[in-house]
């Protein structure tokens, strides 16, 4: 029983960052109809930027987190401007191929810049874990969960309560009508991609200190983000949040009670099963932004 509680707690904490990853990806797909293969690389970028600022330059850890997310946002905006703006009306397969190209370029640049050796980030938290009755959890993970939760709520508020969010929702519903009503579509697209990229970078920056930082860490992250988004239904933010937690629970339970080697396979099995029975995701009826 205690073991189960511990698994559930771990899953809850991991689920927060998974949800961040998923929300970023689903936002981009929902509004722009782009399957973002660079998502995992932006996640890796976030982790590397924290490593670079906090461990190499010796900047304060919390400041390094903020800078990493800002860099993620900037790189995301740049990708949108340079690669995607010219492909506004292209088919989804075309943009997918371009994003695969960008993914290869980014991953190998990371490998060139940082070499293949894994890096670790030492967070400024006490070493001894927080003990809550039968279960315990490290302070780093508590911090990761709190920040992830704040970012999820923040993104939700941004989309529901701000002018930009309103423009995003309008573009999602009908791009051409939104443009006719005076929404600057190009600005909305760039902002969406930058926001989604920032969320991916944030997830990487938060998980960097929990795991180790490697150039290929983005691959699995991207595949998991796809799994989360499929679970929730493409373009569905609440679905992606739920999907993040579902995937985390499936992985924890699978690793704890089935086989730890198949931990990473859980998500993909979930996708295949979900698509067999609910081809448009678990929360299909509510496919809209918000």
């Amino acid at each position: 029983m205690d073991q189960l509680l511990q698994h559930l707690l771990n899953a809850l904490i991991l689920g927060g960052t998974y949800a961040l990853l998923g929300i970023g990806l689903t936002l981009i797909f929902g509004i722009m109809r782009v399957v973002n293969f660079t998502h995992g690389e932006l996640y890796a970028l976030g982790a590397y930027m924290v490593y670079f600022f906090a461990m190499v330059l010796g900047v304060n850890f919390f400041l390094a987190l903020v800078v990493a997310v800002l860099i993620g946002i900037a790189v995301g905006g740049l990708i949108e401007l340079v690669l995607l703006r010219g492909l506004r009306d292209a088919s989804i397969d075309t943009t997918m191929l371009v994003m695969i190209g960008a993914w290869i370029i980014m991953q190998n640049s990371e490998q060139l810049a940082w070499s293949g050796v894994a890096k670790s980030i030492v967070p400024p938290f006490p070493q001894e874990p927080l003990v809550l009755g039968p279960v315990s959890v490290s302070w780093t993970r508590v911090f990761v969960f709190v920040v992830a939760a704040l970012l999820i709520v923040g993104t939700h508020l941004l989309i529901q309560r701000t002018r930009l969010g309103k423009a995003m929702r309008a573009t999602f519903q009908d791009r051409d009508t939104a443009a006719l009503m005076g929404v600057n579509i190009n600005a909305v697209y760039t902002a969406t991609f930058a926001l989604g990229s920032g969320l991916a970078a944030a997830a990487g920056a938060l998980l960097g200190p929990v795991f180790v930082v490697t150039p290929t860490m983005g691959n699995l992250a991207a595949l998991k983000a796809f799994a989360i988004v499929i679970l929730g239904g493409l373009g569905n933010i609440k679905g992606a949040t739920a999907g993040g937690f579902i995937l985390a629970f499936a992985e924890e339970i699978g690793a704890g009670y089935v086989s730890s080697g198949y931990r990473d396979a859980m998500g993909f099995l979930l996708i295949i099963i979900v698509l067999l029975f609910r081809p448009t995701g678990l929360f299909a009826r509510a496919e809209r932004v918000g």
Binding site: T94, M96, V98, G101, I104, L112
Partner: protein, 350 residues
């Protein structure tokens, strides 16, 4: 004219081991050929039915593992006290089984994943490849996991009772690869130029319309998936018995991406496209090897992919064909519409 060129090209391919003394270059050509077979099989799905399947490497790997395991033999403890033992089988038999098993998985995945389209389809196929990779990595009793299957026996050519040769050397392996590549090309060509192929192209161009004139969409898609998977399995089997070691890295997504780049660059939906793209990206690393590190090579691949999609979206083969036609007619031809362009071109090739 076209026929003459075709025979010259074939003679050239056949003559390569005679004048190419360097075994390293021959090795590059063999692996290039194997990847070209895989690219041709992907083209059947990607080019002719228009489904972007990004899990194609799974079939390549399944073919490689099945063929390797059957030729090596294995024992597997199915239940307490009961062990299933399989004695090593002849390589040809193992190879054919690999093709069949890959085809069977193509059927299963086709049945499952063609329920969805677009982004969903892409992600299901990626997930499938990733699950297979994790199984190969973790089912150590069967696959040896990361320790890899090694000492896989090479192919043997034999006339029963008279003569036998085991293909250790490069040149016979080259001819074997060439034979299977030509066979694969002919199968794709036969399929694409048939009624079935026209049905596939029709549903690529306009699925609702194709359905409305009575084309059974799922049936044709699954058929394409089975043929394509079996062919990729054949490429995998060739690879296993040529390189003679197989590890779970054969399932990496990056190999699917390599095949996709080959098909897109050469020209998806054309018969010659994957061959041109395969040769191009098979030989390019050799040229780049002296001047750039592997990472830089991949960066160049990535740039290529983006540049091709932006400036040559149909690929090299249709571009060259358009250029030759405009030379022949003496005036610039208008961009042919996708359907008429491909169909007309294929008919001309016939």
């Amino acid at each position: 004219m076209i026929d003459l060129l075709r025979w010259l090209w074939l003679a050239f391919l056949l003559s390569v081991p005679i004048w190419l003394g360097d075994q390293y270059y021959l090795h590059i050509l063999i692996t290039t050929g194997i990847f070209t077979i895989a690219a041709m099989s992907l083209n059947l799905l990607l080019g002719f039915t228009g489904q972007l399947s990004l899990g194609h490497v799974a079939f390549f790997g399944i073919g490689a593992y099945t063929s390797a395991l059957l030729s090596l033999g294995f024992d597997l403890e199915l239940a307490e006290g009961y062990t299933f033992v399989l004695a090593p089988k002849p390589v040809w038999f193992a190879f054919l089984c690999g093709v069949l098993v890959a085809g069977f998985f193509g059927w299963v995945i086709g049945k499952i994943s063609f329920k969805v389209r677009g982004a969903y389809f892409v992600i299901v196929t990626i997930s499938f490849a990733e699950v297979v990779r994790l199984v190969a990595l973790n089912w150590v009793d069967l696959t040896e996991g990361p320790m890899a299957l090694s000492n896989i026996p090479p192919f043997t050519l034999a006339v029963p009772g008279l003569w036998e040769q085991t293909l250790y050397r490069k040149a016979p392996n080259y001819y074997l690869m060439l034979a299977i590549a030509i066979l694969s090309y002919l199968i794709v060509r036969r399929l694409v130029l048939s009624r079935t192929g026209r049905a596939m192209i029709a549903l690529r161009e306009n699925e609702p319309l194709a359905t409305s004139v009575g084309i059974d969409v799922t049936r044709y898609l699954v058929l394409a998936a089975v043929v394509s998977a079996a062919m990729a399995g054949a490429a995998g089997g060739l690879y296993a018995h040529y390189v003679r070691i197989v590890d779970p890295d054969v399932f990496l997504f990056i190999y699917t991406v390599t095949m996709v780049i080959m098909v897109i660059t050469g020209g998806k939906g054309t018969l010659a496209g994957p061959v041109v793209g395969g040769l191009f990206f098979g030989i390019l690393p050799v040229l780049l090897r002296t001047i750039a590190e592997p990472e830089a090579q991949w960066i160049i691949y990535g740039v290529f992919m983006i540049v091709i999609v932006y400036f040559l979206p149909d690929g090299i083969v249709p571009a060259v064909r358009g250029w030759v036609e405009s030379l022949q007619s003496g005036r610039p031809t208008p961009e042919p519409a996708a359907l008429t362009g491909t169909a007309a071109a294929e008919r001309k090739a016939d």
